[in-house]
């Protein structure tokens, strides 16, 4: 797996520069709550190179709004809505209630609790 760390404010531009719809398959978006900040990851595989997986990673505060990739990856909204539900960290355009019910007891199960 190739890991590419990018500054938060350049994440959208760097991934857009990398992504080619005919070449890359967007696998998923992932997050890790590090206690004082979030690590955000985007995974891609390559149709042409067997076994090739690229991970873009960046770090952000809980209050930051993560840029959406939906403007160039049509299906990105699915994983972005899930991310917002599970971590309660905002992503441009993402709506709550996609994976969790709006009245769920724990509204951000993967956020570390103080």
């Amino acid at each position: 797996m190739q890991k590419i760390e990018v500054p938060f404010h350049q994440a959208h531009a760097k991934i857009r520069e990398f992504y080619n719809v005919d070449k890359h398959h967007f696998i998923a978006m992932n997050g890790i709550d590090l206690g004082d900040k979030m690590e955000v990851q985007w995974f891609f595989s390559n149709y042409e190179i067997p076994g090739d997986v690229t991970m873009f990673t960046t770090f952000t505060n809980y209050e930051d709004i993560i840029p959406s990739l939906s403007d160039f990856i049509k299906s990105a909204w699915v994983t972005e809505c899930e991310f917002y539900d599970l971590f309660d960290v905002k992503i441009e355009g993402a709506k709550k209630g996609f994976v969790l019910e709006p009245d769920a007891q724990d509204n951000a199960p993967l956020r570390r609790k103080k």
Binding site: I27, A28, V53, G97, F98, V99, E101, L110
Partner: protein, 362 residues
């Protein structure tokens, strides 16, 4: 005169096996807008895996993500954990993993085809396929000890070996099942009534599949050659046991059915080769280490690419387990596929998409 209607479907519906909600906006009979809600069965499995269970137990916890593709989840997780631990498992364990993965594909594809027949109004065909599917369920029980929640793969290998008697039973029952499926294949290929509901219905083309990042038989039916088995030779020896990529071109319900049949015939070939070439070796490779660092693992489950990301911090409990199931990747495609279709075609299209909400919501 056009009349616009909003028709809800689900979360509980006769055409759905699991809770899923659609809102179709229709102009007369034609669907012009679709909205989906997949969030009914979130069980917090990712959180449990990274807080309540040790990494060795996690392979059994993730087996509970889904009753149908339990084997895929336990194997994909185990492969990721083995990568972190630097474990090289025996060739025998790899062969046994392939054996159960392909048995799992047989029963899962047969369930989908049965459901597609049922949603087209062919009750008798549904029952015939379910009867045949029973053979694959019995074989899974014979090999793993369970009909669902197989708990077969574990970190370091597999939990059970097969005996000569099991091998004989596998060969006997699979030969019968293969003959039965050849008859069913002819029905799906040539039955005129079925073709009215399947051909040209619910189609996506290759470009749409790539734009929507769809996976599995849905993508392969549209001519996109994406199958993790062709990508992960380092994890399991797929080429050695005769794996072949199955691709169709039309991307409709018919093509998805045909891809599934062709994959099942390839599964028979793979299982025969696995049994014929079963190597000697340990079932489990042991280690006392704790996982440290991060690793990903991909596996071709019956519905497509299953993805695991895990992160360890040199303690028995992992820091993060991320699961991306194939249906989750296909949600965006599900929504696109219905647009422009007749409302009456929704049940067979939905069945042919083979959604698994248990995996999706986790």
């Amino acid at each position: 005169m056009k009349r616009t209607l909003t028709i809800p479907m689900g979360s509980q519906h006769i055409a759905l096996l699991e809770p899923l909600h659609f809102r179709f906006t229709c102009e007369n009979e034609k669907i012009v807008g679709v909205d989906a809600d997949v969030g009914y069965v979130h069980r917090g499995i990712e959180l449990a895996c990274a807080s309540k269970f040790k990494f060795r137990q996690v392979s059994f916890v993730v087996g509970r993500v889904c009753g149908l593709c339990s084997i895929s989840h336990t194997t994909a997780y185990s492969q990721a954990a083995e990568r972190l631990l630097g474990l090289d498992i025996s060739k025998k364990a790899k062969y046994l993993r392939i054996l159960v993965i392909e048995l799992d594909r047989l029963h899962s594809h047969l369930l989908c085809l049965a459901h597609t027949a049922e949603n087209t109004g062919f009750e008798a065909l549904f029952m015939q396929i379910m009867r045949d599917r029973e053979a694959s369920m019995e074989l899974l029980e014979l090999v793993t000890g369970n009909r669902v929640q197989f708990d077969y793969s574990c970190v370091g290998g597999v939990t059970r070996d097969i005996t000569t008697d099991i091998e004989k039973e596998l060969t006997r029952k699979l030969a019968k099942l293969k003959t039965d499926l050849e008859e069913l294949y002819e029905v799906f290929r040539t039955n005129w009534s079925l073709s009215l509901r399947y051909k040209g219905v619910g189609a996506l083309n290759a470009q749409q599949i790539k734009e929507l990042n769809a996976v599995g038989p849905l993508a392969r039916a549209a001519g996109v050659a994406i199958d993790v088995r062709s990508d992960t030779e380092d994890l399991l020896p797929w080429k050695e046991v005769g794996y072949k990529m199955m691709v169709e071109q039309t991307g409709d319900v018919y093509a998805r059915n045909i891809v599934r049949f062709r994959e099942m015939f390839n599964s028979f070939e793979i299982i025969e080769n696995v049994l014929r070439g079963m190597p000697q070796g340990d079932l489990v490779t042991e280690t006392k280490a704790n996982p440290q660092g991060e690793a990903v693992s991909r596996l071709e489950a019956p519905r497509g690419e299953l993805f695991y990301y895990i992160k360890g911090n040199n303690t028995p409990v992992l820091e993060r387990v991320k699961i991306k199931a194939p249906t989750f990747s296909n949600v965006a495609a599900f929504i696109e596929i219905f647009k422009g279709q007749e409302y009456a075609s929704v049940p067979p299209i939905l069945a042919s998409l083979d959604p698994c909400l248990s995996c999706t919501a986790r």
